[in-house]
């Protein structure tokens, strides 16, 4: 709850808002798709982008609509754009990705980027925002682009999950017909709406833990093992204090016959009532990981995560982990199967894949016939 001083500050800021001015954004946005890019920029609009002064802060709302065309000979299944602001020198960056695409050669598709920048003072001249192509994924899982954000790996994993989930719903359609598919979609939609979610704030520099929480305790991870996983988590722990968790680390063993170069685990936490939530994904911190067959590695991060729900702190009681993504040295990826996720009711805790989210939306907006037609396209 804000006190009177914060309310007074809000009033001051709102008075500033009354003096808001539009700042022309012509020439302030750079779009760079790179040489020999498989996509070309057809058009760009910055629509109702505007900036406003609020008290000491300057807020820039940028609404960009791009139309890109597939200039390659392959079908595009995913695009990732890197978004950087030179003006706002915050220690971070953004990206906008469109997975689950199916764009044929010569076809155009829209991309919308809505961005908000805040800084304490007026902006200087020069470009405000640079939008660069980071990766384009094709139907055959080949990928093109500078890949500075590892977009190729991420989009490939999304595509594998998409193939997995499309196959799941196609199998239901084949076995149980449209009625069975409708039932499966309704269950999926109901699962999404019932899924418990936490609000998580991640801090890179350690936050000061409230004295009310007492000293942090070491919480050992419990693990879910998937029979087909190339990696086995063996032990791990995180420091827990009240609704804060920090320094998670997990030891994993490569059970496959191939070397591994990327590992990611999903981290579940539970509250005092035993309700489980997805806390975060836990990727390996080593950017040049090389884990030969049979060897052990540590997956760890030094960030601090703070959990709340509906504005109230959620005390963390337990931690659980499972392997969610593995990339082998040859570039191939492993993701859990649908059967893996249905074990231990994980599907009730985890978010749907991008493809399942798309199919749910398609069913809700256009009905069963449109969904069946879409599944038959692949």
């Amino acid at each position: 709850m804000p006190n009177k001083r914060q309310v007074a500050l809000l009033a001051l800021l709102s008075a500033g808002a009354a003096l808001a001015q539009d700042v022309p954004l012509e020439g302030r946005v750079n779009i760079n798709l790179g040489k020999d890019s498989p996509v070309a920029l057809v058009s760009m609009s910055t629509g109702d982008s505007h900036s406003s002064s609020r008290g000491a802060a300057l807020v820039l709302d940028l609404h960009m609509s791009l139309t890109l065309r597939n200039t390659s000979a392959g079908r595009i299944h995913g695009v990732a754009l890197r978004v950087i602001s030179q003006e706002v020198t915050v220690g971070g960056k953004g990206s906008v990705s469109i997975p689950s695409l199916n764009i044929g050669p010569g076809e155009a598709f829209p991309v919308r980027i809505d961005m908000q920048l805040m800084r304490p003072t007026q902006v200087a001249g020069g470009p405000l925002v640079d939008v660069n192509l980071d990766g384009v994924l094709f139907a055959d899982l080949s990928c093109s682009g500078p890949d500075l954000l590892n977009s190729c790996r991420t989009m490939t994993a999304w595509e594998m999950e998409a193939q997995r989930d499309r196959e799941h719903f196609k199998r239901i359609l084949a076995q149980s017909g449209p009625k069975g598919l409708r039932q499966a979609m309704l269950e999926s939609i109901s699962r999404q709406s019932a899924r418990p979610q936490l609000d998580v704030r991640v801090m890179r520099a350690p936050a000061v833990t409230s004295a009310a929480f007492g000293p942090a305790r070491t919480e050992q991870f419990a693990f879910l093992q998937f029979p087909d996983s190339p990696l086995e988590p063996s032990k791990g722990s995180a420091q827990i204090a009240g609704n804060e968790a920090r320094e998670p680390h997990i030891e994993v063993v490569n059970r496959s016959a191939q070397a591994i170069k990327y590992v990611e685990l999903d981290w579940l936490v539970s509250d005092p009532s035993g309700q489980r939530y997805l806390a975060a994904s836990l990727p390996a911190s080593d950017p040049v990981l090389y884990l030969p067959a049979g060897k052990t590695a540590n997956v760890e991060q030094t960030t601090c995560l703070r959990f709340t729900r509906r504005g109230q702190p959620v005390n963390i009681q337990g931690a659980m982990g499972f392997v969610s993504r593995v990339q082998f040295a040859d570039g191939k990826l492993w993701v859990p199967s649908r059967a893996d996720l249905e074990r231990d009711s994980l599907v009730k805790v985890l978010p749907p894949s991008a493809e399942e989210q798309r199919l749910d939306d398609l069913y809700l907006k256009h009905g069963l016939d449109a969904l069946v037609r879409d599944l038959k396209r692949y």
Partner: protein, 188 residues
């Protein structure tokens, strides 16, 4: 249509309106998109407030200390003036003076209590923070922030996923393009 003033909207955004005023504001907001948008902006500003509270322009504790110092200086000056007065002068008013002094002391005490109350509930977070806001995901450091918004999509329809390395992803079906869109901010 008569709109609530800015202060009312600001108080509503912070959940600080009284029951009747809150009910009236809610009724208005149900049918006024313009004010709903204003409320959203206030909520976004509330996300931004912790970093402002840390900014050098807004040192509440220092301001409070300066105010108290000025009050003490005023009292000390008053004592100096009284010391110059002839002894016994105004004795007839001594009872009233004691009353005024007691009342002043009470006011001072109350002011001191107010000023010494804990400051705004501010997370003393340093470094880079990654979080979901009312309509997007944001990476923030000090007084600066970069956010990617899911405009036109309700928060309930967005799937958030956190990366423990310092990233946050908001995944939703864009109402205009119809495509699944994944906005990611990363503190690295």
């Amino acid at each position: 249509m008569k709109h609530p003033n800015q202060a009312t909207l600001a108080l509503h955004a912070g959940g600080d309106l009284g029951a009747i005023a809150r009910w009236r504001a809610r009724r208005h907001l149900e049918r006024c998109a313009e004010c709903r948008e204003e409320i959203t902006r206030f909520e976004q500003l509330r996300q931004f407030l912790p970093s402002l509270a840390d900014s050098p322009e807004l040192q509440w504790n220092r301001l409070a200390a300066e105010m108290k110092a000025n009050i003490r200086l005023g009292l000390a000056a008053g004592e100096c003036v009284r010391a110059d007065e002839p002894a016994g002068a105004g004795r007839i008013w001594s009872g009233a003076r004691v009353g005024v002094a007691l009342a002043s002391a009470a006011v001072l005490l109350a002011t001191g209590v107010v000023l010494e109350r804990p400051g705004p509930t501010v997370d003393r977070e340093t470094g880079v923070v990654v979080q979901a806001t009312a309509d997007g995901v944001q990476v923030r450091e000090g007084g600066q922030a970069l956010g990617l918004m899911h405009s036109g999509t309700s928060r309930e329809a967005v799937t958030y996923q956190v990366g423990a390395q310092g990233s946050m992803e908001a995944r939703y079906v864009d109402s205009e393009t119809g495509y699944v869109t994944v906005n990611t901010v990363d503190a690295q």
